[in-house]
Subunit: 269 residues, 2 copies
Amino acid sequence: MKQIALYGKGGIGKSTTSANLSAALSDRGLNIMQIGCDPKHDSTRMLMHGKWIPTVLDLVRERGDKAISVDEVVFTGYNGIRCVEAGGPEPGVGCAGRGIIATFQLLERLDALYGDVVLYDVLGDVVCGGFAMPMRESYAREVYLVTSGELMSLYAANNICKAIQRLSRRSRCTCALGGVICNSANISGEKELVGAYARRIGSRLISYIPRDNIVRVAEVNKQTVIEYAPDSPQADVYRHLAEDIFENDTMTIPIPMETDELENLALEY
Amino acid sequence: MKQIALYGKGGIGKSTTSANLSAALSDRGLNIMQIGCDPKHDSTRMLMHGKWIPTVLDLVRERGDKAISVDEVVFTGYNGIRCVEAGGPEPGVGCAGRGIIATFQLLERLDALYGDVVLYDVLGDVVCGGFAMPMRESYAREVYLVTSGELMSLYAANNICKAIQRLSRRSRCTCALGGVICNSANISGEKELVGAYARRIGSRLISYIPRDNIVRVAEVNKQTVIEYAPDSPQADVYRHLAEDIFENDTMTIPIPMETDELENLALEY
Ligand SMILES: Nc1ncnc2c1ncn2[C@@H]1O[C@H](COP(=O)(O)OP(=O)(O)O)[C@@H](O)[C@H]1O
Ligand SMILES: Nc1ncnc2c1ncn2[C@@H]1O[C@H](COP(=O)(O)OP(=O)(O)O)[C@@H](O)[C@H]1O
Ligand code: SF4
Ligand SMILES: [Mg+2]
Ligand SMILES: [Mg+2]
């Protein structure tokens, strides 16, 4: 079982990349599970053809976690992909981290955490103990950073590297960095910048995903690009990424940059 | 004592707006304190002429909170403004919320939490119990949302409204929404969009701040716009905002929008 997590700043393109990645992997006949770990709970929407599925946290809040069965939290989407949304704390009162932990423990108790690939789509704006949960308890073994050439998204990616480095010192933690994905924001020189950043932290740029309007058209049709426009160049990009990630066995413990260094690197491009 | 908090998505312009607001208020002879509550701990940098001040969390981690004196955490910047940085959890292991709480409790114990205006600059990407802390224990009584016309920043602002609404049901909570600030991202129609959003949630657009390159030039000179270019139109905008906020006594409990409604509103402009 390959257990991977995509981390990145809010709005950077984690869910779009995750859903297309899952779709491309399922087209190869693999058994895929995707778990959204963002309070926005829209990670699996395009796999579910636009349907908002109930979140684990909402159910646990209403009924406690004793009475919940698998089919109330795990939904089947495109090509048999099993979809789960952890959900988020009620704004202002709960802990997003505890919600993610509750979701994993429930899925384990229900024996639902299985497949050829389990993919976690995690918000990376705040890398506190809560959102680092997927990395901590050996749920995700490979982390992929989703970023663009924008300083704020590189800053968030760098924080995630700090967490991986910090957690790798714990005996039970097996997570490492699989690579960096540049989801373009149409900033000139960003491919070179993100490539340089990936090398500086001891990793590599595993994919450059162009910004393409087909993504928004597929979204309006409530499908992934893989399903909506399988012959498009963008679908090819996602298929290549799926292959690279599935075959990838080069993991590293990143060496994060200092904030001033990162700012200087961004200025060079 | 006026206790205000600026909340918004990472990178939206909270710290730039906070520092210029504090500077403009200090120019009116007021005693100002600014507390950064973002793990990025760069809230007060332009008030400190580029200096990174030590964070409360770093000190507490090293020495425990018993042995810390006021002058180790409170620094005097431009025009006598007292500056504090809460700092953030070590990526991956701590809770940002507990850090913010520890900061406030320390400042209260040291009798350092005073002034005509205390301004909290808070990250609004994740509105968990941790980051809502400034709103909860009656530290901040007036919240100002910093957003642009970009959907992700409105989404974050709407989450903050949910937290204010949820917390207002608690007897000890006195926080309410003072208004919405549109910090322009040069998106066409965003002033009208953010204005419409502010009205829909039962509040108002208190300021539209143009995107102006003078902000970046002042930043390179490690100063606020108020200090670097006091006669610029941008400095005027910040001074008007300072006056509006200082005089503002109209607070509301917001009525947040549903996510689908918000997406539809954004499509209208
Ligand atoms: N490569 C791309 N090309 C065009 N639009 C994209 C691309 N990736 C993401 N988007 C758009 O950006 C928005 C945010 O992406 P999303 O995947 O929801 O981000 P996240 O999950 O990181 O918050 C989506 O509406 C999507 O349409
Ligand atoms: N009105 C503006 N005009 C031009 N640049 C701006 C403006 N407001 C903010 N910026 C720029 O945006 C960047 C992010 O702003 P910052 O205040 O650090 O955001 P936040 O505190 O919300 O993370 C800064 O580098 C700043 O130069
Ligand atoms: S651990 Fe993270 S998500 Fe949980 S309350 Fe603290 S800051 Fe919020
Ligand atoms: Mg997402
Ligand atoms: Mg800031």
